[in-house]
Symmetry: C2
Subunit: 338 residues, 2 copies
DNA sequence: GGAGCAAATGAAAGCGCTGTCAATTGGCAA
DNA sequence: TTGCCAATTGACAGCGCTTTCATTTGCTCC
């Protein structure tokens, strides 16, 4: 390459990275040789020599779950223009794969790591701590972040969704969840807390499966509950796919939604608002969370400046739509105010 | 690291890569030091020294479009167990980003590249050709592959879906598409061909948008057509998200599906089969396609053995479901057999 | 008991770049 | 014309590994 352009390797490197520092003539010669050979510099060599990778490691639970779509988009939108490469790994909801992904990632020496979730294994945690780069944990909130934490309380969100249904006048409120990752558990804990607080029985009202979440699973899980509790009044679904499946299942069984069963989903994916009826959901600011995480990371890399707070709560919001309906009750719920 | 274990760097390298070649005692010392330091070898140095990256580059149009989910899963399922790392880039449906992704990827020296689509820019093509590694183009079929091509004829699939509706007795058949990438265009070409062949007019029956596909866009596009053609009888949707949106829009407008309008989608995503009514769709073997591509790649890397055919058609299949209905016509369609 | 060999380990070189610093060139002031 | 400085370019070393080859160790076998 350098030979073809008739210059030294150093000049090629400079012409490509800081064109302003070489004369126009040489720059042209280099450019010509580059395009002649379809030359692409070896990042491995570059990384080794410069100790910079210009890459940010990102680990998500799934590449294909709609939940990570906006989040990943935000990361790309923010980091690419700043000259960073975004290296995405999926743990596929497996701790083992997550550990592997973290190790692989660290071997690539990203300049920061943004990882979804807070439930890393002790080994994974150690790897991250020892990596020496900023680590942002996202999606959930923890009191004990590895480094920095940008997320929301999944438990609180689950509580709020359930409480929302209770406040609407529902009593026989079901909960369905698939995959059962840490976030699903946290939401369920919130559901249980809200039900317990309202002195409502959850017997037969919960259906879960370790299978991945999907629309069809949502229908099946609702079916499981209905087999036991035909008197179901409302359903909190751990995610919007399940909610959509539950909605279809109701339509299939001629159960009016929200007339007989109210349905609320989670994450407020795009389709929720335009379903028929539109599905109520808990909106989580995933794009915002990704943007925030990227900006924190870039600030640390560029100026070493760390956020004042290691723990940033991005919150959530209940989106009330047509799939949930206020139900008038003759007698008030006892002791809900405790 | 080597110092802590009291051995040479070479031994560390060997203990980690070929444990069988070092004595148990040293192996234990190395392992201890590794976990003590949370040591992870530097892939850049490794790659530079060994000229092997054990990575396969993958470029898709979108990380978050459900279409790539099964495909990526297949790639991971097949390549990870074989010891390859899967490096995924998204072109985000942009030629510019695709070029950048290809360049970045080649700088990382993957051992093969699997890229979705056949419509790379000339520059991108050159980069791929010059990279010196096997390149598999997927999802579509071309007569002029860069190297190897595993896909299906999107045009043919679009033709078949339309023809399916025609054969069901429909005449006023609409087409909606979003994003308008190469595959959407190919499907539309198939639609146009089928309509033309059947001497059916497409006036006012087509609605497209450059916006990304989504469920809500599906409803809007159907609305656009209905504004012009209230007599619409059937709708071919460029993807299942649009189809779902169209279905919801019909429900919202109290238009019976399939009673008044038949709907067929494309790709047969998971939710199509469990919608209400279940949505007919064109199933594309995406998992199979990914598996095939991986296996070809691994065979080439391991033994240099290339497939007999550079162009492999994985086909497609119409899944007939409740959203499409045979419509009886008094008079037969003229000249359909031409 | 010593030659011969296999197994285990280490020393040295080098992968393709970039950081550092030295060398060269040209322009301009004195 | 001479000397000095800035701009431009190149030489060299080294990033952290792995490959190759040499060395050492511990056997086996005659």
């Amino acid at each position: 390459m350098a030979k073809l352009a008739g210059v030294s390797a150093v000049t090629v490197s400079r012409a490509l990275r800081q064109p302003g520092m070489v004369s126009a003539a040489l720059r042209d010669r280099v450019d010509a040789a580059v395009s002649e050979l379809a030359y692409v510099p070896d990042v491995a060599a570059s990384r080794l020599a410069s100790a910079r990778t210009h890459s940010i490691g990102v680990i998500v639970s799934s590449l294909t779950n709609g939940v990570f779509a906006d989040y990943l988009r935000a990361l790309h939108d923010t980091l690419l223009p700043a000259g960073f490469q975004v290296v995405v790994f999926s743990s596929r909801y497996s701790s083992t794969e997550e550990e592997k992904a973290i190790a692989t990632l660290i071997g690539q020496h990203p300049e920061a790591i943004i990882i979804a979730g807070i439930d890393q294994t002790p080994h994974a945690r150690r790897l991250l701590e020892r990596s020496g780069v900023p680590v942002i944990q996202t999606f959930e909130l923890t009191d004990d972040p590895i480094d920095i934490n940008v997320g929301l309380s999944q438990r609180q969100a689950g509580y709020s969704a359930t409480r929302f249904l209770i406040d609407q006048g529902h009593r026989k409120i079901g909960y369905i969840a698939a995959r059962l990752d840490a976030r699903a558990h946290a939401r369920m804990a919130g559901y249980n807390r809200a039900m317990e607080e309202a002195h409502l029985d959850v017997g037969g009202l919960v259906a879960t499966t370790p299978r991945p979440s999907s629309v069809s699973v949502g229908g099946e899980l609702l079916g499981d509950i209905l087999d036991r509790r035909a008197d179901l009044e409302a359903l909190f679904c751990c995610d919007d796919n399940l909610a959509l499946g539950a909605l279809f299942e109701c339509q299939r069984r001629n159960i009016p939604v929200p007339g007989q069963i109210s349905i609320i989903g989670f994450n407020d994916l795009e389709f929720a608002a335009c379903a028929h009826p539109p599905i109520s959901s808990v909106a989580t600011p995933r794009y915002e969370m990704g943007r925030l995480a990227s900006e924190i990371v870039m600030r640390i890399i560029e100026s070493g400046e760390r956020p004042a707070n290691r723990r940033i709560d991005v919150g959530f919001a209940i989106r009330e739509r047509g799939s949930t309906l206020r139900r008038d009750r003759p007698q008030p719920l006892r002791a809900l105010s405790e």
